[in-house]
Symmetry: C2
Amino acid sequence: MEINRRDLLKGSAAILAAGGLSVPSFARDGDPLPSWNAGPAKQAIIDFVKTTTDKSSSKFVPPEERIAEFDQDGTLWVEQPLYTQFLYCLDRVGTLAKETPELKNREPYKTVLSGDRAAIAQLPTRELFEIIVATQSGITVEEFSADVKAWLTTAKDPRWKRPYTDLTYLPMQEVLKYLRASGYKTFIATGGSTGFVRPYSEQVYGIPPEQVAGTAQAFTYGYDKAGRPILTREPKLVLDNLGAGKIENFWLMYGHRPYAAFGNSSSDDQQILEYVKAGTGARLSAVVMHDDATREYAYGPAQGLPDTKVGTLSQEMYDMAKKQNWIVISMKNDWKQIFAWEK
Amino acid sequence: MEINRRDLLKGSAAILAAGGLSVPSFARDGDPLPSWNAGPAKQAIIDFVKTTTDKSSSKFVPPEERIAEFDQDGTLWVEQPLYTQFLYCLDRVGTLAKETPELKNREPYKTVLSGDRAAIAQLPTRELFEIIVATQSGITVEEFSADVKAWLTTAKDPRWKRPYTDLTYLPMQEVLKYLRASGYKTFIATGGSTGFVRPYSEQVYGIPPEQVAGTAQAFTYGYDKAGRPILTREPKLVLDNLGAGKIENFWLMYGHRPYAAFGNSSSDDQQILEYVKAGTGARLSAVVMHDDATREYAYGPAQGLPDTKVGTLSQEMYDMAKKQNWIVISMKNDWKQIFAWEK
């Protein structure tokens, strides 16, 4: 029997816990969230974990119900100036335009091929979707995964000159680990494509592909030239994870109302955060507010900052957060450090 | 930290294994499949597990890739004379007909309300689907789960006079446990409704709801009279798990080609078994053949037995199984005992 290193660690922690200890081992030795500043956001996360894992608490949650959901873009990693997945698709539009030259005169491809990033960022979400779907079709599911992986090893963010997978937020990585060490299963629910995130989710977030839900295209079963069965990506949406779609599809995929949910954007996190918070018992809904122009980006009309059309936090969603006692995480004030490689 | 008993056991096994042991602990002490007769089917399952979990094997499978898929009806539990889920829906048609009396004169409802089980069993699969969708709509996801659970506590199979959840196959329960003890994650992929299976999957099979994929209806986000957010089941299919749909949707849900797959029916297992077997490395595709009229049921044209239209094993699928070296499991010859409560 092969040893799964994570299971071994998990098992060791469980066996230690069986000896009477009541907190995850790494938390005993110190702070489970070291890159967070002390404050109401950090405290609320720790209180939530303690309450839901303490068997004597009236809000104890049995292990099989411990489900935590995370948006990706703007919640787990940087989403400005454009969604990373979209940058990948831009590279693929070039390939597509070579095969189908008439695209050069057709919107939204024309704007994309112009290379004008400000104009591209202003394209309506549904048009971005059309590009995403068109550029991610006509290849097998396995070829697509390999292509995403290859792109991520070479592409770099122009501001930090680093691979995009380096741009995950250290404080959120700590939350993921803290929740898992406390018996939570962690899931990604993204407005982006499932097939884009899965190839790196385990390596980058410790979240296996089967726990990643997103906007999903149809696959068609068929055979290659050698007669081997294949699944081909089709230019047709099956699951649309925008708006209320994220929670509708989360239930469809996993059959749970999460106990904790983290998001940042009105375009796809508002309903899932509302739904989570409305559940019985202790529930944690948290919104990451981008208010740190120096260390990351500052945007969102709820704070009187520019509406970048990418990861917008509307006034309505902000008011809902305050009224329903969600946690509002200020990147500027709550996070001591943003990225793991800093300093 | 609460102790998850399964994690503890799993952890203990991993720690024991770290000491140099190479098989799951229960298998060391004896037979991992005690209710199976010795024979090629049993041997093939054991060989598959040994090969894929032995680090020195060229066909070793890393733990994160160990995914095993199981059909439910006719593979994990009895599907004759009608699918259990359909029996549940029949009870709901009565309720529906009271609300909408004109259904009484409309097919397929007319046949269903006639109570003629032979005629009901002959309804085309798509019409059965229509009934399933219609009877499982207009209520919230949580109300639906509660209703399924309540029905299962009272409904009984007329032949054995037992709850349907007692009609799972002991040999297959052993396979589920054996695979999990060997580091495999087990999933159900059913032609039936996801929402029907999830309420009992953990208790009956040890498979959590998030690892159950099936035919799925749309949900709509809205608010109840008290203003609380709810998800309502809609009479509209989003994922159709029949035919090639089962493997197309398995990839959509989980992003894996399973290493092992178990099924029994041409209507929804043929393509997934073919796709699994066509993967690289050691792959196990297995078909349960219903050939035991005394202890269970005997049916299927591949054996020259009656085509019951429920869980049909066609000649084409049987030939494919033989040609591609799937395991064909004979209930009559390979299974020493069918149900846990026998004897």
